[in-house]
Each structure stands twice: as C-alpha cells, then as structure tokens.
C-alpha cells in the first residue's frame, strides 16, 4: 500500500504542468483517508504509514507547486476549470496565487509533521482517516475559486474536526466539539444565504447566467452599495467566527484545550486561517467597497482581540488555554493588517498567517509533548522542566520568542509589516495594537518562567523525559521555517507581493468617492521596491536586535532563578 502511494507520488512529481495538480492536492489525502478507512483494524502501523505517506505526498506536491509558481504572475496559476453542476452554474474552479500559495504549503507540511509527532491514544484507523479528510478539506478551501466549491470545503472541514475533537479529545470533549460545530455552522449558514444572494443578484444585475465563479463575480462589480454591504456582512459573520474575532471567539479556547494535540495544531495552524484567508479572498476581493466601509469596525474588533486575547492569556492557569488565547491575539494582528487595506498590511497579514501556523503549531506540539509526559497542563503543577529536558526547553524558547515577535524570528517580520500597514492607514488602531506586542512578551515569558525555570519540585518534574527523535524530527522543519523566515523573508514576500499589489489595485479601482473619507488623508502606498526594501530593513533590524533579544531573555532568566 505504501508502495502504491509512492508510485502515485512519483507519477505526479514527473507530470507536465498541465497535470491537474491542485485537484491532486485535494484528492490525494482524500484517497489516503479512504485507504485508511478500509485497511484492517489490527494493523495500526500500516495505517499510520499509509496516512503519513498520503499526507507527505500532498506536502511534497504542495512544495512542487511552490517551486513551479511563477512569481512574476500576479494572477491565479495552475488553473483548473470544469463544470460541476451545470444547472446551478457551479464549477470546479481551482487556482493559487501569492495569497494562497503559502497557506497551501503550510497545509501540505503541517499535516505530515503532526502525524509524525503525535500518535493517537486509541483507534488509529478513523483518526488518520479524519485527519487526512481534514487536509483535503483545508486544501480545497485554499485553492477553490468557485464560491460553491469553497463553501462546500468550508463546511466539509467541520465534520472531521468535529469527530477528531469528540473522539480523541480530553475532558468534556463531545460538548466542546458540538459547540465548535454549531458555532461555525451558524456562521456558514448565514454565508450560504449571502452567497446565494450575491450570485442571484449578480446574475440579475449583469444579465448573464448564474455563476459561482469568484473571478467573474469579483471583476464585475454590479451590486448596489447597500446590498453589497449586507452580503459582505453575511460573509464576514462566517469568517469572524472562524478567525475568531472578539465577540464570537468563545468556542476557540474550549476547542483548542479539549482537542487532541493534532487537532489543536491543525485548528490553530490551518483552520483559523480559513477565516482570515476568507476575509482577504472572499471579503476584500468580492466586496472592495463594503470591506473599506466596514474596515474601522473590523480594525476595532481586531485590536480588541489583540489586547483582550493577551490579557486573557496572562490569566490562564492551563498552558494549552494560554496558547489558545495567544491565538486570539495573533489573529487580531492578522485582521489588523488585512483591514489596513494597503500593501504592507496585507503582505504582513498573509505572512503572519503562515508564521502563526508555524509558531503556534509548534507551541501546541510542545504543550502536547509536555502533557503526554506529565498528564497535566496546569502551569502551577509544572516547574523547573528546563533542568530535566534542556532541549525541549530550548526549542520552546525559540518558538515562544517567535510567537512574541522577537526580531530575527519569523513573528517579527509579519507583525512589523502589519503594524507598519496599520500606522499608514489606521494610525490609532496601530498605536493601541503595538501595546499587544508588549503584552505578548508578558504572558509568554511569564508562563515560560513558571514552567521551565526554578528548581523542579516533585519527581515527575525532575525526571521529565527529553524529547525523542521522532518528536525532534517533527519539530525540526518548523524550527527551520521559523528561523529562515525570520532571517530571510524575501523569497516569500516576493511571491506574496504581486498578488497583494493586484488586490490593492482592484480595491482602488472599485472604490467610490467615500473611500477617501473613510481612509483619511494619511493613505500611503509604497511601491514594490519599497517593500523589498522594507523586508531588508526587517532583516537588518533582526540581526541588530537578535543580540538585544537574547539579552532580554537572559535577564528574564536571571529573574526566574532569583
């Protein structure tokens, strides 16, 4: 069976560019899931290998897409367009551009790593099947260019995640899973009405046939302003819940905390991005005017999320819950960058999506490893782990610092760009959000200090097992990514940027006169050269700030010991 998957992989790797690679990205894990489901129950190792191979093959395929991605092309690449349901104007339209490219790669890589790092406690067969189905669904959301296909995948991902949380979670997991499912479904229910309204009204206004095609809908803006605003709000409801934005975030801490480690990693690493990605691809692109009109609202909610998430994280007693709340804060930054509606902000937001996937994914993996060893996540019961497991502590430090946004690590570049974007177009929101950076240092360093520093009390803390090679293998690529993107984000920015530029141009082209009113006179747009320059600036300050950061950490260290 593994050989078959390998053969498949080989065939795909060698294929011509006309090969429907994006469909393969969706179908490969789906087939893997089907394979896992039919394999005999008494051979968990085979199931595991098949699952890993399917997920890894998808990952390799996503890298292949990244490699062949033409960075001078701002539009969608690897396009596939087929008719799905002619009657309704539904198509199977797939494509990637700079905005979705790295999310595809993130989805491709995070799943196999999770499979390597975490073994389910029971029933591996359905576990891996659900996980692979989840990968297929997430891929579908990121590459779908047909509103209908997008919606289907957006809904489909709920089912495997629901079963993963309910079946392999901790504590009161079935209730939490239910909460997660219903919360998200409520959002998508409203979005479905929005999609149908958009499609119907668009067809009526443009006189053309009914189509769900994103590009067609976005490039011909025919809706009345008020109508478009209402429909945007229905989309925004779905995305806001998925992100999650401040008032509708309450499902997230529960779901993250009770989910199994793999679930938390995927939830934070990939699934939260479905919301922020949705805002960019389906909010901004489809409704430029409405997005601009409502930008202050979402900026405010984003900033509230940053501050609220940080404060809530500070007060958590449970390490996993703390990381969960830190996600609320980080996603706030992404929203801030997105709704800054300029190049820096959007590029920073997209970069930060990937960064958050790497660092929070790694944090959840690490917390999961600690939990596997100690069977507790309470900060008060963990102490002095550094002595027993220095490598674990070291990795934790790097990941944590990346999450804080320390220069030299990936988090800094993204956060810096989002704040830069915010300062350019939404200054006061930027000012408040900057405080969140400090708060992030507060809650993470404080938690680190309590968990890892000091003298270990109790045998369990003293004799904590060091990470094993398998766990190290899973963490290594994430660490490499964290450092690489922190030091040299240019290749990534180079690919993101043309698409962002195109989006901003689309925004400008479709705005009425009231845009200036909303945005104020402080709108500042930098050229492509400036942005590359910015990235280099970031690198330079990263190098300069690296030592400083270490120093700060050192100080904390001493404080902890003293």
């Amino acid at each position: 069976m593994p050989a078959l998957t390998l053969a498949l992989l080989g065939a795909e790797g060698a294929a011509a560019p006309t090969f429907p690679v994006l469909s393969a990205l969706i179908l490969l894990p789906a087939l893997g899931a089907a394979l896992c489901a039919v394999l005999p129950k008494n051979r968990p190792d085979t199931v595991r290998q098949v699952a890993f191979l399917a997920a890894a093959a998808t990952g390799v395929l996503s890298l292949w897409v990244m490699y062949h991605f033409d960075r001078s092309d701002a539009g969608f690449q690897f396009l596939e367009q087929k008719i799905w349901v002619r009657d309704f104007g539904i198509g199977w339209h797939l494509g990637v551009d700079g905005i979705s490219l790295f999310l595809v790669v993130l989805t491709g890589l995070l799943f196999p790593l999770t499979i390597v790092a975490v073994t389910p406690e029971h029933e591996p067969k359905p576990y891996y099947a659900w996980l692979l189905l989840l990968q297929a669904g997430c891929m579908g959301v990121f590459v779908g260019l047909d509103l209908f296909a997008f919606f289907v995948f957006f809904e489909v991902v709920l089912v495997p995640m629901y079963f993963l949380i309910a079946g392999w979670g901790h504590g009161d997991s079935s209730k939490v899973a239910l909460k997660f499912f219903l919360y998200t479904m409520l959002g998508s229910a409203l979005m479905l009405v929005g999609i149908l309204s958009l499609v119907t009204l668009h067809a009526r206004a443009s006189g053309g046939p009914v189509t769900f095609d994103l590009v067609t809908l976005a490039e011909n803006q025919v809706l009345a302003t008020t109508t478009a605003r209402w429909i945007f709000l229905s989309f925004a409801a779905a995305f806001a819940i998925k992100v999650p934005l401040f008032p509708v975030h309450t499902w997230l801490p529960d779901a993250h905390t009770e989910a199994p480690t793999a679930g938390s990693v995927i939830l934070a690493g990939v699934m939260l991005k479905l919301g922020t990605y949705g805002f960019i691809r389906f909010g901004l692109y489809l409704f430029p005017e409405a997005t601009t009109y409502f930008a202050p609202l979402f900026l405010t909610l984003g900033v509230i999320g940053i501050i609220y998430g940080a404060i809530a994280a500070t007060m958590q007693r449970d390490l996993k819950r703390l990381v969960a709340y830190s996600s609320v804060a980080h996603l706030g930054f992404i929203i801030l960058g997105t709704f800054a509606l300029n190049r820096q902000g959007l590029s920073g937001g997209i970069l930060q999506m990937v960064n958050h996937g790497l660092s929070t994914g790694a944090l959840f993996l690490l917390v999961g490893m600690i939990y596997e060893r100690r069977h507790t996540r309470l900060i008060s019961e963990l102490n002095g782990l550094q002595k027993a497991a220095p490598i674990l502590a070291g990795i934790f430090t790097v990941v944590m610092l990346s999450s804080i946004g320390l220069p030299g690590l990936n988090g800094f570049v993204g956060e810096y760009l989002t704040l830069l974007g915010a300062f350019a177009s939404a200054r006061w929101w930027g000012v408040v959000a900057t405080a969140g950076v400090i708060l992030a240092a507060l809650y993470l360093l404080w938690a680190y200090q309590r968990v890892f520093h000091g003298a270990a009390q109790g045998a369990a803390n003293e004799e904590l097992a060091e990470i094993n090679w398998r766990e190290g293998l899973a963490l290594a690529p994430l660490l490499a990514g964290i450092v690489f993107l922190g030091v040299y984000p240019k290749p990534m920015l180079n690919r993101i940027e043309p698409a962002v530029e195109r989006l901003v141009a689309h925004l400008d082209a479709n705005l009425g006169d009231d845009f200036v009113e909303v945005q104020g006179p402080a709108v500042e747009r930098r050229g492509a050269e400036d942005l590359v320059h910015l990235a280099e600036e970031a690198e330079a300050s990263a190098e300069a700030g690296g030592g400083h950061g270490d120093g700060a950490a050192g100080t904390e260290h001493e404080d902890g010991e003293g």
């Binding site: 349901v85 009657d87 309704f88 229910a189």
Partner: protein, 539 residues
C-alpha cells in the same frame, strides 16, 4: 369503470361523455393497484411460495412501475410529444407526475426491503402490509397526476386509508393501535377540510377541474373573492395536514412513534411526496394567478414548520419522535421551495423530496434494526455505544444524520441549497435566514444522536448502566453492558440492501447532484388540455 367516474367528476355540468383513456399514461396507477389486489386474493387462497415472497413481489411491482414511468419520462420530455392529459383532462401525465411516481416507487422499494425482516421478526408476516403499501402508492401516483380536485381527493383517500391501516399494523403493540386510530380520526377530519375547500372553490369558480379553474381565474376578476379565499385556505389545511406542516402537524410525532418503523419510512417518504405533489399541483396549476394570496401563507407556514419542527426535535429523547419532528422541519424546507412559486422552486422541492426519500428511508431503516423485537427500543440511550457494538451501522446512521443536517457532500446539502437558492431568488431573504439558522439548531439534534452513538462511555457509565437495567462500578463491565443494551439484531440481507441503496444514493447524489437536479429541473407541472381530436363524442 373508474375512468367513467373520473370523467363525470371532471365535467359535472356537461352532458355525460366518454372521454378517451390513454392507458399507457394511466398504466403506473394500474401497475401498482392491480397487483396489490391480486396479491391480497392469492395470499388468502394459497400459502406463500417462499420466504420473502410478498416483499419480492412488491419490489418487483414497484420496479416495473418505475421502469414504465421511465418510458413515460422519455415520452413527456420528448420535444415533439410532450406532456399530455387523459380521461377528459382529469389526469395529467407530465414530467412532474412521472418524477414523483419514481420517487414513490423508490420509497415503496425501500420500505418493502425494510418490512421484510421486520414483519418476520415481529411475527406479522402476511401479504396485507405489502398490498396496502402498493395501494397507497397508487393513490400517491393519482395525487401526483391529478388535474382535477376530485381526482386529487380520490388519490388522497386511497393513499390515506391504506396508510391508516399500515400505522395500526402491529397488532400486539397498543401504541401502534393508538397511532392508527389517531391518524385515522385526524386524517378523516383533514380530508373533510379538503373536501369542503373543493366545494367552496367549486362555488367560486364553477368547476373542480384545475384546467377550468385556472382558465376562469385568469380571465375573470372576482368582485367578492371570499369564497375562493376560504376554499384555498381549506385546501391548504387539508394538504398541510398530509405534509405535516405546522400547525397541522400534531399527529405526526404520535403516529411516527407508534407505527411500525418500516411503515414510518414509507410515511415520511412516499406519503410526504404524495402530499407535496397534491399541494404543488393545486397551488401551481389551479391557482397560479392567486400567487399573491397563497405565497405569503405558504411562506409563513414554511417558517412555522421549520422553526416548530426543529425546536420541538431538540427536546425529544425518543429517537422516533425526534425524527418525526425532524421530518416536520424537512417539510418546512420543502415548503420554502413551494412558496417561491417558480420553476426553480418546484424543481428544488422535487429534488428535496427525492433526496429526502432515501435519507429518511435509511434513517428509519437503522431505527428499525435498533428497535429490536417488539419495536420499542427507541430511546436515545438505546443508541449509546452503537459505534462500538455495530460500527458499520453507526457510520451509516451518521451518514444519514449528517445528510439530514445538510452537511456536504451529501444529497441533503444540495437539497437545502436548492430550496434556499429558490427562496433567495424569490427575494424571501428573511425566510432563507430563518431557515438556515434553524438548520443549525437542527444540526444539534442530529449531532446529539451521533455523539450518543460514538460517545465515550466513561463519563456516562452510570446512565448507560441504568439504561441497560444493570448498575456496575467497573468500567469494563459498564462498557459491555452498554454494548448489550445497544446491540440490535443482525440485519437481514434485505435490510442491508435497503441501507446500502439509501446510503449510496445519498452520497452519489451529494457528489453528482445533476443526476437528480437535471430531471427535477425538467419536471415542472404543466396543464395540458385534452386534445379535442382524440375526445370521443358524447353518445
């Protein structure tokens, strides 16, 4: 002859004339009704030939009818020949009636497959349930093809009377008797409403033929339309009862809970399809000009039905009652398609009926199996740990429940999508939003059942033990007790076939919806005046 009666009913005012009868078009009714009667007689004269003989015959009859209807489908969708009406315009054969005939046949096949094992298990085997099911199906086909209110009433009564008996089929269960009685009394009452409505419409328009009513209303403006409004309202009550629309739904939970489970599968699919067939035909064919009046009423009914059904389902602990309320809310979704009063809306409603037939057939198939001997293990706790004792059954049930919740990629998703699309197209945004929010509440109902099946036994040992009639402290024992409590009988091959068929259709239609959406798009009801040349002169 029935044909003569029909003709008389159609042209009450005119001199009695013998209309031409197109036996090819009328064949589906006869193909269902005649074997049913033969089956009744043969079974009383000779012993059955082999185990499952009656079920085999029933399925064969349904399949023959279905293939005949496929032939008719070719004829009515043919550009040159097209739909036609017969028996003096009282009986119309169009895409709509043929499509629903196929749906009703499918529901008969599913119910017969389920009934086979069930009746043997309960010691009730005989030809009567099958014969009644076929008779009632023939009534449903008449409803789907009626071009005359009297013919519609005839179909309604043939359908209903057989189903009343089916509800009371389980002679040893008092709840089954109760269900039959309740269904009969309330159903007869609603038939009276319907008939009274027909009388009023006759008073207002001077005809019971949908052709004449539509013509009359298209050319005449009534100075005082009180009689017509009352007539439409009464028709809506009568048909609303059959499709279980709130507030005419009160019988549904009791009847569904009490009736034998395979019969409920038929009631929820075939009977519901026939009820909607009647509703759609009356509203779209007889009263297309009165859309302003009935569209709002149907929209409010749809809203009340969706919300009422969903909310009531949340508080149920009996799975059959839960599914009864869920079927009420599904009726509400179909009404959303009806209220649009467009080709898209009708097509969406038909798609919904076709998809729902298989979903609900499968659902009650699982319920039949879990119900075990005596058909009374329907509490939520009977499903606890089903995933452990019968994993495949649990997965299949989860599939049907997810489909009912409208999760892609299942047929249920496209069904909801279609009716929502029709509602939005018709500008009924409020209804679409209410319906979608209600569908989230509905998802809670289905997920709760799924959670129970797949749920961890650890946290609920005490409860599970209590349900199994045993109390243990030990975890392992508790699990085994749970398993024992939730272990249904082994499914017979017929039941397996039914579940596999239903599951396959649910998934395949979910992936390739055009398999059903293309035909349903063509299956819009039309009125065809009888061809004068083919009409025989009156004697």
């Amino acid at each position: 002859m029935m044909a003569t009666l029909l003709a008389q009913a159609a042209d009450v005012g005119a001199a009695v004339e013998i209309p031409s009868v197109d036996w090819w078009g009328l064949a589906p009714v006869l193909l269902l009704a005649v074997p049913a009667m033969i089956l009744l007689h043969v079974s009383s004269l000779v012993p059955r030939f082999f185990r499952g003989f009656y079920a085999t015959v029933t399925i064969g009859v349904a399949l023959v009818t279905a293939s005949w209807s496929l032939g008719l489908w070719g004829r009515v969708t043919d550009a040159e020949r097209g739909p036609f009406s017969t028996v003096g315009g009282a009986y119309g054969v169009d895409g709509f009636s043929v499509f629903l005939t196929l749906v009703i046949c499918a529901s008969v096949v599913l119910a017969a497959l389920l009934a086979d094992g069930y009746l043997r298990r309960e010691g009730l085997e005989g030809a009567e349930p099958y014969a009644l099911m076929l008779l009632s199906a023939s009534g449903g086909v008449i409803m789907a093809s009626a071009n005359d209110l009297i013919v519609l009433f005839l179909g309604l009564e043939i359908l209903s009377l057989a189903v009343y008996v089916l509800a009371a089929m389980h002679v040893r269960r008092i709840t089954s008797q109760e269900a039959g009685m309740k269904y009969f009394v309330l159903g007869a009452f609603s038939s009276a409403f319907f008939l009274y409505g027909v009388a009023m419409i006759y008073g207002a328009t001077g005809s019971t033929s949908m052709l004449d009513i539509a013509d009359f209303l298209a050319t005449t403006v009534l100075a005082r339309n009180g009689l017509l409004l009352a007539g439409i309202a009464l028709l809506l009550v009568g048909l609303g009862f059959k499709v279980a629309a709130v507030p005419f739904h009160a019988w549904t939970p009791d009847v569904y809970q009490g009736s034998p489970s395979p019969m409920v599968a038929y009631m929820a699919s075939g009977v519901k399809a026939a009820g909607f067939a009647g509703l759609l035909r009356v509203l779209l064919l007889a009263f297309p000009t009165q859309g302003d009046i009935w569209r709002d009423i149907v929209a409010i009914l749809a809203c009340a039905t969706i919300v009422g059904g969903t909310v009531a389902a949340v508080v149920q602990t009996d799975v059959k009652r839960m599914m009864a309320y869920s079927s009420i809310s599904h009726a509400g979704f179909i009404l959303v398609g009806v209220q649009a009063a467009t080709a898209r809306g009708t097509s969406a409603a038909l798609f919904y009926l076709a998809a729902y037939t298989f979903m609900v057939g499968g659902t009650f198939g699982v319920i039949t199996l879990v119900g075990r001997r005596g058909d009374d293990h329907h509490d939520l706790s009977d499903y606890r740990g089903l995933a452990r004792s019968r994993p495949v059954l649990a997965v299949v049930f989860a599939l049907f429940l997810m489909a009912q919740a409208g999760v892609p990629p299942t047929s249920g998703f496209f069904a909801k999508f279609g009716v929502m699309s029709a509602a939005v197209e018709g500008g009924a945004y409020w209804l679409a939003i209410v319906a979608m929010v209600a569908s989230v509440i509905g998802a809670f109902v289905y997920l709760r059942l799924i959670v129970t099946m797949f749920g961890a036994a650890e946290g609920d040992d005490a409860h599970a033990g209590a349900a199994g009639g045993e109390a243990e402290a030990d975890d392992a024992e508790a699990v085994s007790a749970t398993t024992a409590a939730a272990s249904p009988e082994r499914a017979g091959s017929a039941a397996i076939a039914a579940l596999a068929l239903a599951a396959a259709v649910t998934v395949v239609v979910g992936l390739v919806p055009s398999l059903v959406s293309d035909p349903s798009g063509e299956a819009v009801p039309v009125l065809v005046h009888p061809t004068p040349g083919r009409q025989l002169a009156s004697p």
